[in-house]
Amino acid sequence: MITFLAKRTATLVAAVLLSSFAVFLIPYVTPGDPVRKIIRSRVAGDIVDDATVRALGESLGLDDPLPVQYLRWLGDFFTGDMGLSHISRTPVVDQVMPAMGITLSLVIVALGAAVVVSLPLGIVAALKQGSRTDKLITTVTQSFIAMPEYWLAPLLVLLFALKLSLLPSAGWNTASSIVLPAVTLALRPISFFTSAVRSGMIDALEAEHISAARARGLSHVQTVMRHVVPNGLVPLSTLFAVWFAGLLGGSVIVEVIFAIPGMGRLLYDSVVNSDIPLAQGGVVVVVALAVTITTLADFLHRILSPKVSGALA
C-alpha cells in the first residue's frame, strides 16, 4: 500500500508539472503575439502600438527565455506564490480559488444528482434485465448521451425560465440558480452511470458467490443488498471520479451560457487572453484536484472490489 501511495503521489506531482508546462507554452506556440493578446483584452481595439508592446513585454518579463520564465514561475509557486495576473495585475490565487469553489459546488450538485437518479435506474434495469422496463430505462438514459450542453442548456432555459417562469435563466446568486446548470451537466453522466451500475450488477448477479449466498439461505432482497448492489457500485466509483475530474475544467460551455464565473470560464478566458500566470495557476489547481480525486477513487475501487485488491496485493 505504501508503494502504491508513493507511486500515485509521484504521478500527481509529475502530472501537475507537465500540465503546467504545457499550458505555459500554449500562448507561445499558437499564432499571434502573446503581449498583443494581453493588450487587446484590456483595450478591445485593433491598434496596438509597437512601443507599448515592447514596454509591456519587458515589464512582465516576457522577453526572457522560456525556460527562465517557467523556472521563475515554478520557484514562486513552491514558495506559495502563484503570481499576478498579466491582465488584472491581481494575485492569481484570488481569482482561482473563488472560481474553483463555484465550479466544485456546481459539479458536486450535478454529479450528486446524477448518482441519485442513476443508482435506482441502474439497479431496476439490472434486476429486470431484458424486460420492457429495462429497455425503457436503457433507451431513455442512452438518449441523454446525444444531448450536448450547448443544445440542452437553451432548451431548459426556454422551458423553465421563459415558458414556466420557475427558475432563473442565468447567474449565480440564489440556490435556484444552480438547478438548470446542474441538470444540464447531470444528464450525460446519468446515462453513463446508469449503464455502469446496470452492467456491474448484472455481472454480480451472475457471479458464483451469489449462488453460494442464496444456497446459504439468504433471501433475494438480502442477497441483492449485501452482495449485488456493492458490486454494482464499483464501476460507478471510477466513473464518478473521471467525470468529476473532467468537469472541473470542462464545464466551460455551461458556465458561459448560464453566466457562471467558474473555473471553466476562467481557464478559457486566461488562455484566449494569454494571461499566462492565471492559466498556469488555474491548471495546477484543476489538475492537482483531478489527480487527487482519481487517486482517491482508485483507493475506493480497491476497497470495494475484492478482485482488484487481490490482484494488487
Binding site: T30, P31, G32, D33, R36, K37, I39, R40, S41, R42, V43, A44, G45, D46, I47, D49, T52, A55, L56, S59, I87, S88, R89, T90, Q95, P98, A99, P154, V157, L158, A161, L162, S165, P168, S169, A170, G171, W172, N173, V256, I257, F258, A259, P261, R265, L266, D269, N273
Partner: protein, 529 residues
Amino acid sequence: MPSRSGMHSRRFTLRTRGRSTAALGLASLLVLSGCGLSGGQSASTEQVADTNERIVVDNFRAPVANWAPESDAAYILSLSGCLETLTKYDSAQGKVVPFLATEWKQTSPLEWDFTLREGVKFQDGTELTAEAVAGSLNHVLKAKVPARAFSPSVVSGVQAIDAKTVRVTTPVENPLVPFRLASVNTGVLAPAAYAGATVDPFGHCTGPFTPVSEKAKQSLTLDRNENYWGGEVQLAGGEVRFITNGATRAAQVQTGEADISLSIPASALSTLENAPEVSVLKADSPRTATLYMNNGRAPFNNVDFRKALRSALDLEALAASVYEGAALPAAGPYAPSEPWAASDASSPKQNVEEAKKLLAAAGYTPDKPLEIIAIVERAEFADVATVVQDNLKNIGVPVVIQAKEYASAEPDVLAGNYDMILSQRNRLIDIADPIGFLTADYTCKGTYNLSHFCDEEYDSIITEAARTSNSEERYKLYAKAGQLLNDQAVNLWLVNEQATDAIRSNVMFYVQDPLSRYVLTAQTAKSGS
C-alpha cells in the same frame, strides 16, 4: 440645407420596434420628415416613475483589468452611471457638450484650458478640484497600456492652473482635444481612488450612481448618489450584470430578470420583437463589416478588379439573410447616419454583367482560387464568407474560405501576405471623430493599414483634416476622403452593423447609445410594478 448637426440628429434617430404598426408608421413618418426622436425613449403618459425602483442591466462585457480607467472597464463604469468625464459627445446634437467642465478654450496652439463645473463633489464627499482632475488624467497618461484616446502620443501633460482650471498640453496642435476629454477612459475619480496599488472606483466617482459591491465576473451593484450635481436621480439603484452570452441576455430581458439587455444578437431579434413587454431598439453603430482586400498585390492592385468584385456582391441579400435585418447594406466606408458621410451615398447594387466586363478589363484569369480569411471571433463571418464566395463564383472568381482566429491571421495580414479578410472596425474607437481610424487604416504610414492602400491625395486630405478646427470643414474633408476610398474600391464595405438593445416596457427615459457608454443616467427611471 439643414445644418450638419441637424442632419446628424436626424440620422442618429433611434429606431424602436414595437408591436404597433401605427406606432411604427408614425415613427417612420417622423424619421422621414426629419423630426426624429432624438434618440430618446419617451415614457407613455400612464407611466409614473417610482423612485424606489432598482434596475438590472445585462452588459455584454465583463471588466478584466481590475477597474483600471485606461482599460475597457471604463465603459462599464460609465454606462453604470459612475464615471464622468470633462466633456461629453452628444450623438443627438453631433457635438461635444459640457459635462464636468462647463467651458474650454484653446489658449495657445498647444494648450487647452478647461473650466470645471462648480458644486461637483465626488461620491466620497471631497470636492472636484483642478488638482484632483489633473491627478486622475495624469494617472491615465502614465498607464503601461495607455488608452488610445489619451496617450502620451497625443497629450503631453495635464496640470492644474488654479482651483477650477485644468490645462491640457499637446505635442502638436490638435483641434480634437475636447473630443479626447469625452472618451470614457478620461473619466475622473477622486484622489482616494489612487491611494492603493490598484485603482478603486468604489465611492470615488462623480456620477448619479455609486458602486457599492461587486461580484467578481458577475455583477456590479450601485446605489443612488443622493448628492448628485446633475439633479435628482430617479432610481434607487441598479445592478449591472456581466453576461457575455448574447442568447442569455436576450432570455433575461424576456423573463423580466433584466430590465435592459445590451447588444442583442441577430438570432434573438425575431423572438424579442414578438415578446410582450419588451421593445427592441436599434441605432446605427459605427461598425461596418468589411471585406478587406490586399491592395498591395495582384490581382487586387488593379482597381478594375476590385470594382468587379464590388459589382458582383448582392449586399441586400447578405443583410437580409445572414444578418436577419440587424444590419443594413453598406454605402461605403461610413454609415449613412454619420455626419461625415456623403449625403447622396447609396449601397452598390449587384450587376453581374458589369462585373464581368470589369474583370475582362482587368485582364483577370482564374489561375488559382483567392482566399478569404473569416475570423472565428465573429460567428456570422463564416456565413458571410459563403455568400461572398457564391457571389464571386457567379462572375468566375474562385474563392476558398479559411476560418482563423484573428490573432493568428494578424501577422500575415499586416505583413501583406493575404488576399482578403473579413473583419470590422469601430470608426469611433478613439474619440467621437473618425480621424484616428482614417489615419491608422488608410494612410500610407497607417499603423493598421490592413488593405495596404497608399495614395498621396488621400494622405494630404487627412493631414489637412487633422489640423482643421472647424467641425463642418473637417467633416467635409472626411467625406472627400471617404469618396476617394469608395472611388478606388479600396475595400468591399458589406453591411453597417446596428447597435441593438432590448428594454422592458416599464423602463422610462432610456436613451440608446450606439457605443454603450451611457446607459444609467439621473433621468433613467422605472414605473412601479
